[in-house]
Structure formats: C-alpha cells, structure tokens
C-alpha cells in the first residue's frame, strides 16, 4: 500500500519542531508500524537525510519503550502498543500523522522521543515494598487469597509506557500511579507502607507537572494493557484514608 506520513521533526529539546510530510510506497500489510518507519529511515539515510528518531526496544509489547501518537490516538487505532500495531490496520492511500507523546511531564528530546524520567521519580517516591535482600521470610508463610493476587497481577501488568498521560486531556498520570498503588496495596506485603506510599507518590506526581484527573477515561481506553479506571478510585480511596489517618 502507499501512504502519506506527516511526522513531527524536532532536532533537539529546545528546538522548534514541525510536521514534515513523507510519502511511502510498497508497504506490506505484514509489517509492523515501526518496521514501516525502519523502511522510511533506510530511505532517508540513503538520500542523506537524518533518520527519524523514535524509541523501541523489545518490539513485543512488554518493555513500554515505544509510544507514538498515531493520527491523534496513543499507540494508534488498536488496543496494543505501537510496536505490536501492524500495517494491516491501515488502508492504501491513508494519511497518517505521527507525533510524540505530548505532556509537560514528558519533554521532547528529539523527533518522536520523549523523556519519561518523571515516571521513575514517582516510583522512587514510594512505588516499592521495602524488603532488603536476604531479609525475606519463607514465601509460603503468608498466603495471599487468589482474588487479591489476581487483582494485584492485573494492576502490575502496567508497562509504564505513558500512553495514559498522552491520551488524557489533562496529561494526568493517575492511571499509571493507580496501577502501582493497586498492585502493592492488594498484597499483604504492601500494607505497612500503604499510607505513606500513596501520599508520597501523589505529591511527586503533582510536582512533576502532571495534571489532575477529571474522570474522562481516555487513559484507560488508550492503555495497551487495559488497566481499568477503578485503579484510580482505589488510589483516591487510599489517599483519603491516608490523609485522614494523618499521613
């Protein structure tokens, strides 16, 4: 198929960016979206133009490194990651716009690459269970009811890609954060630090410049791991409880 791509080019963090049009031809429907960009990059390189910078690593939908706004949708038209999106989801003649995640907390580094260090700093603020190596009790000493274990697992499936932030009109990181709060909060091991965790993570989130949540739900629809909105309710509940208990 033949397509017209309109791609965001920005030479550096401080540079002014612009959309540039690139026609591509002979795209096979078996290509992944990123392989289609690989092909374009090979052509640009051959013409002496600098290839387009974009992030990816596992290309299996699990590392969370990739992430593009594709015609206005985070990760494109399917519920999956950009690397797992295939060209059979498009038709001959389509015009596709490709932009980086847009959020104050995710500044652009170059072209389609953004800095998501703010997510790491939210985890540093409290997204962990303090258990020094070697201090752990026998694994079977604390059984975890299966429904709780399953819910913790469901929330732990978040890959930290940032699509939720990119999709949210407020650029809020609440779905990402709610997923971590729910993962650790469902487990007995996560209880001792539960109050401090939510307060510290939320404080960091706001400090990073993410917006607040106004219950629009775009985040969950864009999430490739289908993290449900109710993790945000869980977060809010935990936060209210913690504040009431004076954390």
């Amino acid at each position: 198929m033949n397509l017209t791509l309109k791609i965001w080019r920005q030479s550096g963090p401080k540079a002014k960016g612009e959309m540039v049009t690139y026609p591509v031809t002979d795209i096979s429907e078996d290509m992944s979206f990123l392989e289609m960009l690989d092909v374009l990059n090979e052509q640009l390189n051959a013409r002496g133009e600098e290839p387009i910078a974009f992030d990816s690593d596992c290309r299996e939908g699990i590392c969370g490194m990739c992430g593009l706004m594709i015609s206005g949708k985070a990760h494109g038209p399917e519920v999956t990651t950009t690397c797992q999106l295939h060209m059979r989801s498009f038709s001959d003649g389509d015009e596709i716009t490709i932009e980086p995640w847009r959020a104050d907390a995710f500044p652009v580094i170059k072209d389609l690459v953004v800095d998501r260090g703010s997510f790491d700093r939210i985890i540093q603020a409290g997204g962990f269970i303090s258990a020094n190596t070697g201090s752990a009790p026998e694994a079977h000493s604390v059984p975890v009811p299966k429904p709780k274990a399953d819910r913790a697992f469901m929330a732990a499936a978040c890959i930290g890609c940032g699509a939720c932030v990119a999709a949210c009109p407020n650029a809020s990181g609440m779905l990402f954060m709610g997923a971590k709060i729910t993962h650790l909060g469902e487990l007995p091991q996560g209880q001792p630090e539960r109050d401090a965790r939510v307060v510290n993570m939320v404080t960091q989130h706001d400090h990073e410049g993410f917006g607040g949540c106004t219950n629009i739900g775009e985040c969950s629809s864009a999430c490739p791991k289908e993290i449900p909105l109710d993790v945000i309710n869980q977060l809010n509940k935990d936060l209210r409880g913690a504040l009431m208990r004076g954390e």
């Binding site: 600098e50 070697g134 650790l184």
Partner: protein
C-alpha cells in the same frame, strides 16, 4: 587436538587452521573443594567482610539493569556501597529481562513431587550437556529457593492457587513442577520487583542512576578494572566514571544474528570492549535456538517473536510430504500427505523433543524444500504447528483458556486465525550461553571486573534449560555477587584515581576517536544493511548446524564485510545529540568482531554438543555426537590484538558428582 589442513583464504602460518593460537590452560581458583553442598557456605565464610562504616567509601559501577544488574545494584546499595547503575534504555525497568514469558525455576519442592536442590543441580548439568561447572550449578540450585522468598516479599504477583499458596508448573520437558510464573509475564514481574528495589535505593541516595547511557569502554589501570567510559545518549557527551570495581550485567549477544528474539538494542559492546582489554570470552559459539518462534514475514523483518514452547504440549508439528504441496492451503492437504516428522523420527518423545532437536529438524525439512509460508530468499522457512486435533479433543474454550494469549499474539502479528488455520513456526536465536569467562566469584580475568547474568558464561554449559536464565540472573544479582565482590572490595578503597591518569585519558580518547570515525566515513551503506548481512552469514554458517567448510567460509566473509564496514558505512547526524544510527554503528562494529570469534570457536569445537550441531560429528542415524575425551572443557579466548589471532585457553571440566552420558531421544 584436532588439526586439519583446511584454512581460510588467508591463513596465518603457525596458527591452528590458520586462525587461532593455543595458550596455557586456565583454572577456576575460587571454588572450594569438598562436599558439593558445603562449597558455597565455605566460600561465603572465607570471603573477607567489609565493615559497614567503610562501605560508603567503596564505589561500584554496574552496567545493566536487567535481573542480574538491577538486583545487584539494589542489594549493594542496601548494603551501603556507593553504586552507579547504567542502562541504555530510558528507564531501568525496560531491560530485556522484561520480555521473559515462561517462568523461573526454584527447588522449593512445594508439590512434594521429588524435587530437591540436588535434582535441580543434576537436571541443569545434564541439560547443559556436561559443559558447565558442577560447583557453580550447585550453588545456583541452592540459592534458587531464596529468590522466590525475596521476590514474594517485594510484592511480585506470582500465580497462586485457590488456597492462596504459590502455583507451579512443569516446564521444558522436566518431570517435576518447579517453575514459578506470573501468567506469560514472569520476566516483567520479576524485573519490576528488582526495579522497584533499585528505585528505592536511588531515593535513599545509595544508587545513582544513569539511564540512556551506553558504556563504550572499560578503564583498566595497573591491571585492575577501575571505571568505564560512557556516552550520554541524549547529549552525546562522553563521560568518565571511576570506581573501585566494575560489574557487567549487560545481557546476551544473540543480536549478532541480526534477527533474534532479543530486544533491538541488545548488544555485545560492554563485554566485547572488556574482552579487548583482557577479559577472556568463553564458549562464544554456544547459542540457543528456540524452536517455536513466529517465522520471518519478509525483508523488512526487524526482530522475531517467541511463542512459549508450551504450545508443543498440544500442538502437532508437520510439513507436507511433497514439496509440491507447500503452497497449498494446509487444510486441503489430506492426512496421508502430511509428515509429522518429529513423531515419525522420535516416536517416544514426539513433539516434545528438546529445543535443539526440534529446531534442527525444522531446518532440515525446510532445507529439503518442504517448508511452508512466504519465501524468504530461496526457501520457505516455516513448519506447521497444528491445533486441529487439540481443538477436537479439548474444545475451543479449553484451548483458549490454556493458550489464548499466545494464539492472540500470533494472530495480531500474522493476521491469521490459529483456531482455523495451522500456525507457522520457525526456530530463532534466543539465548547465548557463551559470555565473559568468570571464576566462581563471578570475577573475569581482569581483577575488579565482575560479570553476571547472561553476560557471563558460567552456569548453562552448552545448552540452557527453560526457566533457568531468570533464576541465574537473580541468583547472581541478589545472592552471589554481593558476597563475592566484598572479598575484592575488602582490599580497597584503592588509590584515588585522577581523570588525568594516562590509562583513563587513553580510554576516553579511543572512544572519542571511534565516534568521530563513524561520522567521518560517509560511505554508501546503512549500518542496518551491514548488520543484516552479518546476521545472514552467522545464521547460515554458525547457526543450528556448523561444518568446517562453512565456518572457514564464514570467517572469510566476515573479514571482508568488516573491512567494507570501516570504509563504506554511512552514519548521518552529529555526535552531540541523540543519534540512533551512531549508537547502532558502535554495536554492529563490535558484532563484526565477535562474529568472527564465534566462528573460530565453533570451528575448533569439532563435536556436536548441546544446541550446537557439528556436521562432522554425528551418529550413523544423524544424531548429535559429543566427544567428552577431547572437548570436556571451557574454551576461554584471549584477545590477540587488532591484527593478531585469538588465543585459546582450556579450562578442564571435572565431574565428581554427575556421570556424563550421551543424550538419547529416539
């Protein structure tokens, strides 16, 4: 030693095959003698202690944030050392360990099915085809149980039973259920556990994190590893980082084949640069090829996707009997025209033969022209994995319950519905057992340089069992390295080193020069085109089946390609910004050197062993034939210099506890 007259087209006189020299044997001097189940305790006891007040004066650089590096950084940070942690991704959470699906082994014996530390040890030595060290493997099995405790305490959401206890499954053909798992995301959940522990230490100030940084050189001063040179991938700045010890946990080098199940950025640079500075590279040719991957769809293919081999439990593998049927709709090919070749050749194991056998037979039937799917080059590279019988036997719901996520993934990638049309699979490079040589302390042949996880060679011999790489990464990172490295650090803090020291200046200058060189060549070919061509050579001649003739040819081809690379590669852009072509150029330049060493290693090992089949060493009916009398050793290669030849050092493997046997699956 086997010598023949065959050599590459430009042999160097006096060298074996015209390509390598043989040096003195080497030995692991750190593993204690005595009963196998006491060795690790003895070593821990004998390793010197470091007073807590001194720890913060000691600094350690750790390259890599996968299971092996992330766990080590967190643990050493908790202990109070000053740690600097590096990864090339934008966050330590994205290291390639994240992609592991199946599970992690541990000898917990929760199923009371006869498992034990000794049995896990025995299975791993046997699975490695008797090419690993008994002491190391025993220790791995011994600490495996601590790993599960540690991960559960961190909140890793392993699968559980209704009673709330942990669930186990049997994996990779072993007879006991010792594999812990978190649906198809075991690697992700384990890595997130290590990552969170690491971030906790970043917050505590014991670990300083450098993401989007790539290590490009190791700094060796007076024979000791004292730091690294790294490039900040965002600003392009070349930075010097100095420390008392350096740990490489940089993962495997399967991407030398271009197409593999590894992440796009997986590379050999960290370990290869250390090799060039004096660290021996052990068994580089030992590669694991996984039989159940989604086949190549066309020239554009950038990586391959693994599907769990559990699919072989219920799927049947076949190709058409007649090449003429290969283009037909498989559903139209009648039963009598199908060749269920694994069931035919190995009636007792059938579709469940080990990974290497399943892979090699798939290649054989495709080489015969009976492969299916799109043609890539001259051949169709695919065989059917058919669930038709399973769907009849078990109902679609039961199949979906067991394999749903895998079948969905297959459909997403290929656009074909596996509930209606048989899937197509083909082997792909998956794991590299070879890596930097280390002793029992995980220290390389450069004092102060430690190597953990897939980056070292230590525990899997010539073949790795399923679910044991995650075990090794976490064993090394949480429980082994923190003890062994303290024995080294106890001798420090070492004399303060200035950035102006000539060894530091030299290391940095060499990196600057290399970066400048890539950008100045301005030839005609992209980095990827060289990488693809190298991958084709490796896959053809140093893949599942190797022969002397093929390997000698490959060595010639790689030398030619490397020469062209340095004359004709085209890297655009500048050094002072994010420049992904420049990053790739460095990685491919190192792969072009590693590839040759892999071929030399494969050439010298004239036996079939583990995942590595040597055409000249087979039984009458075409099965792998090992030669324990000649090859029961670790091949540790010393860098011979830019224009010199590699030097082989042999470390004899002694089996005191496990008896060596030939494998048989007929």
């Amino acid at each position: 030693m086997t010598t023949t007259s065959t050599t590459p087209s430009s042999p160097v006189p006096g060298l074996v095959h015209g390509v390598y020299a043989e040096g003195e044997p080497i030995r692991d001097t750190k593993a204690p003698a005595g009963p196998i189940d006491r060795r690790w305790n003895t070593r821990k006891f004998e390793a010197s202690l470091v007073n807590p007040a001194n720890r913060r004066k000691l600094s350690v650089i750790i390259v890599g944030t996968g299971l092996a590096g992330g766990a080590a950084a967190a643990t050493l940070g908790e202990a109070g050392y000053q740690v600097k942690s590096f990864c090339y991704q934008d966050s330590p959470r994205r290291a390639h360990s994240i992609a592991a699906q199946g599970g992690i082994n541990a000898a917990k014996n929760y199923k009371e099915d006869g498992d034990s530390v000794y049995r896990l040890f025995y299975d791993t030595v046997k699975g490695g085809d008797y090419r690993s060290r008994e002491s190391n493997v025993y220790r791995l099995a011994e600490v495996s149980t601590n790993i599960i405790d540690q991960c559960v305490a961190q909140g890793v959401p392993f699968a559980r039973e209704y009673g709330g206890l942990l669930d186990n499954r049997s994996f990779g053909g072993v007879q006991v259920s010792r594999t812990f798992y978190a649906r198809g995301q075991t690697g992700q959940q384990l890595l997130i556990g290590a990552y969170q522990a690491l971030e906790r230490q970043v917050a505590a100030g014991t670990v300083e994190m450098f993401s989007r940084h790539e290590m490009l050189e190791v700094v060796v001063v007076d024979g000791q590893a004292r730091g690294i040179i790294a490039r900040d991938l965002v600003t392009g700045e070349i930075e010097t980082h100095l420390a008392d010890a350096v740990v490489l946990a940089s993962g495997g080098y399967g991407n030398v084949f271009y197409l593999s199940t590894n992440a796009m950025g997986s590379n050999v640079t960290a370990t290869w640069r250390a090799h060039r500075k004096g660290a021996h590279f052990a068994n580089p040719c030992y590669t694991q090829i996984h039989p159940t991957c989604i086949p190549v769809a066309g020239e554009h293919q950038s990586k391959l996707t693994l599907m769990s081999e559990s699919l072989r439990n219920d799927g049947r593998i076949w190709v058409p009997k007649n090449a003429a049927d290969c283009e037909k709709d498989p559903r139209q090919i009648p039963e009598e025209d199908r060749d269920y070749y694994l069931e035919r050749i190995y009636p007792s194991f059938g579709n469940l033969v080990p990974r290497d056998i399943a892979s090699r037979q798939a290649k054989n039937v495709c080489d015969e022209g009976r492969g299916v799917g799109p043609k890539v080059g001259d051949f169709r590279r695919g065989v059917y994995l058919d669930f038709t019988d399973a769907l009849k036997r078990m109902s679609a719901e039961a199949v979906a319950e067991k394999y749903g996520n895998l079948l969905d993934m297959y459909q997403r990638i290929t656009g074909e519905n596996p509930y209606e049309v048989p899937m197509r699979i083909y082997p792909a490079v998956h794991y590299t057992m070879g890596g930097l040589w280390v002793d029992y302390d995980l220290q390389s042949s450069i004092p102060g340089l430690f190597v953990t996880g897939e980056a070292n060679f230590s525990d899997h011999g010539a073949n790795r069992l399923g679910a044991s790489a995650l075990m090794q990464g976490l064993a090394d990172g949480y429980f082994v390295l923190p003890h062994t490295i303290r024995d080294y650090l106890a001798k420090g803090p070492f004399p303060k080193l200035e950035e102006s020291h000539e060894a530091v200046v030299e290391a940095r200058a060499s990196v600057d020069a290399r970066v400048a060189k890539f950008l100045s060549i301005n030839g005609d070919r992209s980095v990827d085109s060289f990488h693809k061509e190298l991958g084709n050579i490796m896959w053809e001649f140093c893949g599942m089946e190797r022969s002397e003739e093929g390997l000698l040819k490959a060595i010639d081809l790689i030398r030619g390609l490397r020469d062209e690379f340095w004359r004709n590669v085209k890297v655009l852009g500048s050094a002072d910004t994010l420049n992904q072509s420049l990053e790739k150029a460095g990685r491919v330049a190192d792969f072009l050197e590693l590839g040759e060493l892999m071929c030399i290693d494969a050439l010298h090992r004239r036996e079939s062993c583990g995942g590595h089949f040597r055409a000249e060493s087979q039984t009458e009916d075409g099965e792998a034939l090992r030669h324990d009398d000649e090859y029961a050793y670790v091949a540790a290669w010393e860098w011979g210099g830019q224009d010199g030849a590699p030097v082989l050092h042999k470390e004899d493997l002694v089996y005191e506890f496990v008896e060596m046997k030939q494998r048989s699956y007929k």
